[in-house]
């Protein structure tokens, strides 16, 4: 069995250990005897909607958002939307998630048009506003999601997308409505990194399950020994919920 993953803009959108998400998908396939081919698609490379079972796009620094936004709308946009409509599993993290909404309004400068995969928009409340930084815990229909968030923009969902999860601790989409991330068909956007997939192995397997199902394969998602994954997830939630204490010198030294 062979699956193909399109890793979009790996050189430009690779903040915060995003590579861990790809390593995780590869390993969990390998452990099940599935061959996952990772195809790196950069600026200017065309995207062939029929060629991929999975799509991943990570977060990037502000300066790269402009070029990636342009490439998304002008080069890959149409085919990528086609793939999403066809039910391809897609995961977009942080900056990548923002660019898949309708627009991103930066702290200064003109709006960046997004691809509109998600019925959502993101606005930066201005250079004086605090970034949303810290551990994030959210619940998705009984599935716990943990990670770290670090974003200046606040994302607001429209009726055409559903939240990925409900925030238990942290900011999530905008720090106000307790939503985190977005879903549309089999496309998922999230502010969770850390990396996201290794510590959220159930969600990882959910993505792989979608990809396998589309290929008509149901029995390859064999259970794995997830003792360490469970332990890391539980520990991350516990640390996220612990009261924050700060001593100016003991911690810094």
């Amino acid at each position: 069995m062979k699956l193909r993953l399109a890793h979009l803009y790996p050189d430009h959108m690779n903040l915060y250990g995003d590579r861990g998400n790809v390593l995780c998908l590869q390993a969990r396939c390998r452990w099940r005897g599935i061959d996952l081919e990772v195809v790196r698609l950069g600026l200017g490379d065309p995207f062939n909607a029929a060629a991929y079972d999975l799509v991943f796009i990570g977060g990037g620094p502000d300066r790269e958002q402009v070029r990636v936004a342009q490439d998304l709308t002008e080069v890959k946009g149409r085919a990528l939307k086609e793939a999403v409509e066809a039910g391809v599993a897609l995961l977009a993290v942080c900056g990548g998630y923002q660019l898949l909404g309708h627009h991103y309004r930066p702290a200064a400068g003109p709006d960046l048009p997004g691809l509109g995969v998600f019925d959502a928009y993101t606005e930066h409340p201005g250079p004086a506003a605090k970034r949303c930084i810290g551990n994030l815990v959210a619940q998705r229909n009984g599935m716990m999601l943990v990670g770290f968030e670090n974003h200046g923009g606040r994302t607001y969902l429209g009726p055409g997308s559903t939240p990925l999860a409900t925030v238990e601790r942290g900011f999530g989409n905008n720090g106000r409505d307790r939503t985190e991330g977005a879903c549309y068909r089999n496309a998922f956007g999230t502010y969770l990194h850390g990396s996201f997939l290794p510590k959220n192995h159930r969600f990882t397997d959910h993505l792989l399950g979608i990809a396998l199902e589309r290929r008509g394969v149901r029995d390859l998602l064999t259970p794995l020994d997830d003792t360490l994954e469970e332990r890391a997830q539980v520990a991350a939630r516990k640390l996220a919920l612990e009261p924050r204490k700060r001593f100016p010198w003991s911690d810094q030294m």
Partner: protein, 464 residues
Amino acid sequence: MLRTARLLGAISRRSGRGGGTALPGLLVERVAPGLVSDLSASLPHGNILVTGTNGKTTTARLIAALLQHAGLRVVHNRAGSNLLRGIAAALVQGTAAGNDRGIGLFEVDEATLPAAVGLVRPRLMVLLNLFRDQLDRYGEVDTVAQHWRSALTALPAGSGVVLNADDPFVASLGRGFPGPVTYFGLDDPGAALREREAAADFVECPACRLPYDYTLTFYGHLGHYRCQNCGSGRPEPQVRATSAHNNGPAGTAITVQTPGNTVTVNLPLPGLYNAYNLLAALATGAALQLPEAGAAAAIESVRSAFGRGERFQFEGRPVVMLLIKNPVGANQVLRTIRDEPGDKNVMIALNDLTADGEDISWIWDVDFEQLAGTTGAVVTSGRRAADMALRLKYAGWFETHRRDDAGVTRPTVLPDLEQALRTALYQLPSGATLYLLPTYTAMLALRRILSRLGMVRPFWETEG
């Protein structure tokens, strides 16, 4: 005021609380902000600032050795508390007796550089490298680069800079800089990697916005680079290493050409990253026109900087502690371990306190894969012990791991540092080396535990 600060430093040291290296400085900074400027301005030989993501502490130590060798009295914030209050503390303690040979040498972290420039008005600024590090604390590499550019424009007229020619970010700061620029770089193709590491930041020509072509890559994004479009690229370094040879635990033999001399140094520190630290120190010496005779011997006498390659003995078995704090630095540490002979047990202690970086995602950018299958027992510890174990699992440490009788080896996950250290020491077979790889706050805690076990003295007592 000065007496109060010194007294408080003594009290906090005596009470065993964190060594007291930063507390008096904190008070000075709060109570008399002008004092830092006044004290630093009173040093007759001026001030030097050293910054960079990796290697500040070691480089500052090497520079201090050169300055002392030149007969200067160095006021230095040595204990690794490299924030502004560390500078204040060093000045309060160091400018005490009339000091007509005094020179200030301050390591500052990436984010505090602009503030430090305003306070101490340096005559020379040494910029080592800029890698991604603690994005939650320092912001993106671009933001830090922007801070550095503005810090350079704030330097007093006539001030010089020492820049790493092999780091495109750092080297670009020399273009159009009005004062003297001394570049250092590595010119030994034998030390190059075959391909760039995953942690390397994507680096492109700022004018053309095209990726640089690399003919050589040393580590991270350090190497020999050139823009194929406009031809701009690595500047020719005045201080260059023509060969760097790793002698394992014994350190590194490096031959360096300076404008007036060729010198071979047997640096008692492992790894290519320390070759860069040496180059930065010798370039600083060249910029200040320090005497070159005897410089190699002065540097060879430097002991490993605190936490950056300390060696201990546990019942006759070697224990080596190497600080890890960001992807590029950690990759260098792993490469050093990989190249050392013998059986290796590993303990990695990952904390997520402010000084470590609360965001631990950086471990996914580290190539832990390069040690897969080469280690014996593995212990992970610290507040993020489980995350660390998970990273090692996905790096293949346990799939391709040596098997014991019971089958596949698993990591021992013990968040409590003392329990973990005792376990790791207990598991260490004779003939094997234990590598302790802690993040910053875990290193401080481990050092306290090692000191309690009688293996080291507290670091503020080992300072000379």
